[in-house]
């Protein structure tokens, strides 16, 4: 049944997160961006929201609620409405834990998930992006060679979100033994921070999302036990892992675009030129109308992908559309937001130039979050 109606519970979650985003994320965003640092105490503060634990099995100490990509899409949009960099930092543990919950064996879940149900911030990170000008998430250079009951991982990774503090990393690699390429060849391995041959590189310097810690990695024949191959013998459902991640980026981009729109509308009504508010000029007014049209469209595409994931259906196409469409539109909307503000849009006194950098940065990262 096609329905655009969030449940009452989802409405509550959405409202409380909208409030949290306005109270905590938005006010801290600019200083965090200028300092290239997360606000002190932010991770613990956001951890108290229980975003990760709520959807983990009760038996392992979690909230025991069903995994809900749709609810998470609402969560990510609201958080990104406050600030996309802080939203990614706050939900990085979910990206790791949900991957374990969705693809891990019972043993792996038992072994890895309890930490994410605790009272203290637990850090896990996903290592997927690689340093290639023609990077393609389903054609990886990082390989995993089976060697007895172990795997040897070799390759380079970039933009590993929260990798600077992660105790464990989920490394996405191409299984050397796989005849076919593409999705079927993808595997995921849990690699402890201390693993021999794993070098955590320096912090990435980015255009936007500066407050978000991200690092590069080098894996030089890193040995991991077969038990750390996510999903064990059967491996992972790579289509689902990528779809979840792409739809999540789409949700973040939707929140980001909405922030621009909600900032530009009152600004354009307040700002006067040539004898009237600039919002009274058709060129500006229609631009704002398009922001509204597109943020709606972005959201529905994300919800559709999330709904498919929630029903356990293949969402490769839907997530591809949700991310691709949101990426294009978020860049356009934040770019237009700068234009609405004119000279003030170019100055770091206003958040719009930061959102333009955030949007352009996030829109090339489709493997850093999860629903």
């Amino acid at each position: 049944m096609i329905s655009f109606g969030p449940s009452e519970e989802q409405e509550l979650i959405r409202n409380s997160l909208r409030d949290f985003a306005a109270r905590v994320l938005r006010p801290a965003a600019r200083a965090a961006d200028e300092a290239s640092e997360l606000p002190a105490g932010f991770l613990d503060q956001s951890w108290e929201l229980g975003l990760t634990a709520t959807q983990l099995p009760a038996a392992l100490g979690g909230g025991g609620e069903a995994r809900s990509p749709v609810t998470n899409a609402l969560v990510l949009e609201e958080l990104a409405g406050g600030d996309a960099a802080l939203a990614l930092a706050a939900t990085a543990p979910s990206a790791f834990a949900f991957a374990i919950a969705d693809h891990g064996t019972a043993e792996q879940q038992k072994r890895l998930l309890p930490r994410y149900c605790g009272s203290r911030f637990a850090s896990g990170a996903i290592a997927w992006v690689e340093p290639s000008p023609v990077f393609d998430p389903i054609a990886l250079a990082t390989v995993a060679e089976a060697k007895g009951d172990k795997f040897l991982l070799s390759g380079k990774k970039r933009f590993v979100v929260m990798g600077d503090r992660a105790d464990e990393l989920l490394v996405i690699a191409r299984n050397a033994s796989s005849a076919v390429g593409g999705f079927a060849a993808l595997d995921a391995f849990v690699v402890p921070r201390g693993a021999a041959g794993l070098t955590i590189g320096e912090r990435e310097k980015l255009l936007g999302l500066k407050a978000l810690p991200a690092v590069s990695l080098t894996l030089d024949r890193v040995e991991v036990p077969a038990a750390n191959r996510l999903g064990g013998e059967r491996g992972i459902d790579a289509r689902r892992l990528l779809a979840s991640s792409r739809a999540a980026s789409g949700a973040l981009l939707t929140g980001l675009a909405r922030a621009v729109m909600e900032f530009a509308i009152p600004y354009a009504k307040d700002r006067h030129a040539f004898g009237e508010a600039i919002a009274q000029k058709q060129a500006i007014a229609f631009n704002l109308a398009d922001m509204r049209i597109e943020t709606d469209a972005m959201r529905w595409l994300v919800w559709k992908a999330a709904s498919f994931l929630e029903h356990g259906r293949d969402a490769t196409r839907e997530a591809h559309q949700a991310f691709g469409y949101a990426a294009e539109r978020a860049v356009k909307i934040s770019d237009d937001g700068v234009q609405v503000l004119g000279g003030h849009g170019f100055i770091r006194e206003h958040p719009v130039e930061m959102w333009y950098r955030h949007a352009r940065t996030l829109s090339v990262l489709d493997t850093v979050a999860a629903l």
């Binding site: 049944m1 096609i2 655009f4 595409l301 469409y325």
Partner: protein
Amino acid sequence: MIDFTLSGKDQEVLDYIRSEALVARKYARHYDENEHEFPPDELPEAVNFPGAFAVMGKLGPEDSGPVVLGMLITAGQTWGDYSVRMRRGRGVGLGNAALAASGSAEQKAKWGGLLLSMAITEPGCGSDPSLVQTSAVLDQTTNEWVVNGEKIFVTTGCRAEGAVVWATLDKSAGRAGIKSFFIPKTAPGFIVSHKEKKLGIRADDTAAYVFKDCRIPRDHLLGGKEEIPKGSSGGFRDVMKTFNMTRPMTAAFGLGMSQAALDFTRERLEAAGVDLAYGAGIHGKSAAADRFQRLEALQEAAMLTVLNAAWLSQNGKPNNLEASISKAKGGGAVREITQGCIDLLGPLGVSREHLVEKWFRDVRITDIYEGTGQIQRLIIARTILDYGRGELK
């Protein structure tokens, strides 16, 4: 609960609509090339078809509901052809919607059964109804309205048995002076001057009317309110009501055809060995796949804004903003999608041996009628800016 999957019943109905559409499509080219002919009310093949309502039966709580499903059905029908349908019911003209919106109970009972067209636009007024020049003057001696004026772009204008006509009682009163009248084709001075020749939807019956001292009984004024309210735009709001339901519907008309163009393009390209599979990033695909997938995303995005507007009205929520969003988005999307499919098909796409060039022509009306994209953006902007017409012209 947010959900974007179809129920078994939903799918069953849409599969049936597809089977109807495939029949209608056989006739599409013929009536496009022979625009003077009218498609029949019922196609020969239709005799043995149960019809959508029979297949739908009673919808359950797990199904998508009449309005939302209605949009999918609409798009499913125009996927076959815009003008040729398996069956054309009676009393489904735009004029019937207007009668339903502003007519008295008695008037609805009396004329509701007829096929009614809606005559609004005039040579001198496009999207601005306050420029209506057609006048209605009451002849006290005979208790008749005497109507004079010209109307163009009247949908189903030739085949309709009567028309709901916008005429002004007092030009100086602007919008407030405009009233809707029911005028039967049989009324003296009701002249169907010609059928319009169009870029697309050629088989569609679009007429121009002339009213020359056309006399109708006094009780033919819809709603019966003869006085002109001062100040406010008065009865005009009622008159405009007619549009609120039709915006997402017209977007769905267009999106059914752009979907047809996408499906044809995918079929041809895949047959020629082009890989259109989803998953790979920009560096894992061909130019054709990249462009095609962006067009498909646009189609999906536009259709979802239509379904959102429908879902709101189905749940009794206000949807004036969302109706305009779906119309603005759909109107632009269908242009871009059909243009893009032709880029991908190359010369084949502009040959009349295939229907893509026809869909390219047919969808072009989407962003024009029922309020252009510009008009929709005015409505959207005024809403989000909380402006009146005075503040944003």
